[in-house]
Amino acid sequence: MNRSRVAAIVLRILYLYRGSPQRVFPIFVWVAVDILMWGFLTRYLNSVSQGPVNFVPALLGAVLLWDFLTRVMQGVTMAFFEDVWSRNFLNLFATPLTIAEYLAGLVITAIGSSLLSLVAMVVFARVAFGLSFLTYGLALAPFVAVLFVTGIAMGVAAAGIVLRLGPASEWLIWPIPMIVSPFAGVFYPIAVLPGWMQAIAALLPPSYVFEGMRAVVSGEPAPWGRLVVGAGLALLYLLLACVYFASVHKTALRTGLIARYSAETVS
């Protein structure tokens, strides 16, 4: 893998973000809106609830981590969409750039943008609602890592779908996190789901993360064994997503899709 070519993909996105406040804006504003809305909701729930449950870490923490996964996925897809919108595939893929280098560039940009979001969310949640993740220390890192790998896998798979089906299919991509969230047990234990939803949840790495986080927040020992299963699934999905993207690219080379990529020409 040529580092200069990977850096070129990152540099392109850096230039876009540097010269465009409207691209930087969502990194901070949407997460702030989410934290505000869920922060006040949890504060209200705490005020009306008589039980021992503290909703701030249970719900607001879950929102924060789910937002992080969404931002990671969007970090990959937005960087990819920039090339879709500017019809840049022909320029990019008629160069020595390989698919692995292109994907590596997308992933690095996603790391940057999602870390910015995460820092903004953590600081905002701490300042506005007193939610401190520092309490959990390094124990939090594996949970975040599984969500990160899952987000990358979702982003790469989504990019593959758009490459295969055409730019108009980006409208299929935006709702993916919303569709996944009921099965992932972001706000409730998986046990409350019906059997068929639990079966799907068992295939989703975030469900292991949120079950584990709930255990940690309620003072139980972290279920590391379960988290390892989630991590294994996330890595498997990342591998499958990369294979899928590479296979779509191969098909695009065979059919000439790359050379004539637009909403009108893809079927």
């Binding site: 040529n2 200069s4 070519r5 850096a7 070129a8 540099l11 392109r12 230039y15 876009l16 010269g19 465009s20 920039e82 090339d83 500017s86 019809r87 840049n88 022909l90 320029n91 990019l92 893929f93 008629a94 160069t95 020595p96 750039l97 390989t98 191969k250 080379l253 065979r254 059919t255 000439g256 790359i258 050379a259």
Partner: protein
């Protein structure tokens, strides 16, 4: 002694279902040579160029750039190649300089500052250094595409209708610039155009494609006489009409 081929295409074929877009095309482009790839719309010119650029996989045949098999070592082969095409503008949301910097990284160019400065001067783009590519005129965008195409000092340069959207004066400058580059013997050029005056002015050799096959090949100044017509334009029309009469795509 024959100069070494920078591009060697052997029995190249591309089918889309039952349609044979390119059907057994073979040719070479040598260093210091400009070869014109001509033919009516749908003859297979852009399909051929897309295969040489590695963005379309051939159904059969072999493409080698400076002896490097494109299929076997795509990155090494394409590192020696570059292109400019009227249908492939550079991202309009980056400035002229940013575009050149991104592609300089992709081609892993040494001495980026100096190279970009040199190209901005050569293609009269200095005053647009910080202008978004999307707001440039067609002619300026063409000059930017050519500057990008020269970044890596390619051994093989593919120009697909490079002067299609620019005024005659700018087109003349571009033709002179490419001809000057080729005269130095550094690179070979595969040039497609529908402007027969331009082809006659710049090309050392032309290949006429019709229905995916090379039907004529030779010196653009002598070919018309050899086929009993006055101009290259007339010859083009004859070839296109023959394709129509044969029932193929014009």
């Amino acid at each position: 002694m024959t100069p070494p081929a920078v591009l060697s295409v052997e029995n190249l074929k591309k089918s889309f279902g039952p349609l044979k877009a390119v059907d057994g095309v073979s040719f070479t482009v040598s260093a210091g040579e400009i070869v014109g790839l001509l033919g009516p719309n749908g003859a297979g010119k852009t399909t051929t160029i897309s295969m040489v650029l590695g963005i379309l996989e051939p159904s059969a045949g072999r493409i080698a750039i400076e002896g490097i098999d494109l299929r076997a070592d795509r990155s090494a082969a394409l590192a020696r190649t570059n292109f400019a095409a009227v249908y492939a503008p550079l991202p309009g949301n980056l400035t002229v300089e940013q575009n050149l910097r991104v592609f300089a990284k992709i081609y892993d160019i040494a001495g980026v500052e100096a190279r970009i400065g040199e190209l901005l001067a050569t293609y009269d783009l200095k005053k647009y250094r910080n202008t978004k590519a999307g707001v440039l005129s067609s002619g300026e965008q063409t000059r930017l595409a050519l500057a990008k195409a020269m970044l890596n000092r390619p051994r093989l340069l593919l120009l697909d209708e490079p002067t299609a959207s620019i005024d005659p004066s700018a087109a003349r400058d571009i033709r002179a610039g490419v001809a000057g580059l080729v005269e130095s013997g550094h690179c070979g050029v595969l040039w497609t155009s529908h402007n027969m005056f331009e082809v006659e002015a710049v090309c050392d050799r032309v290949l006429f494609l019709s229905r995916g096959r090379i039907v004529l090949e030779g010196d653009p100044k002598r070919l018309p006489g050899e086929h009993g017509v006055e101009t290259l334009d007339d010859l083009f029309v004859t070839v296109a009409n023959e394709a129509l009469a044969a029932g193929g795509r014009p």
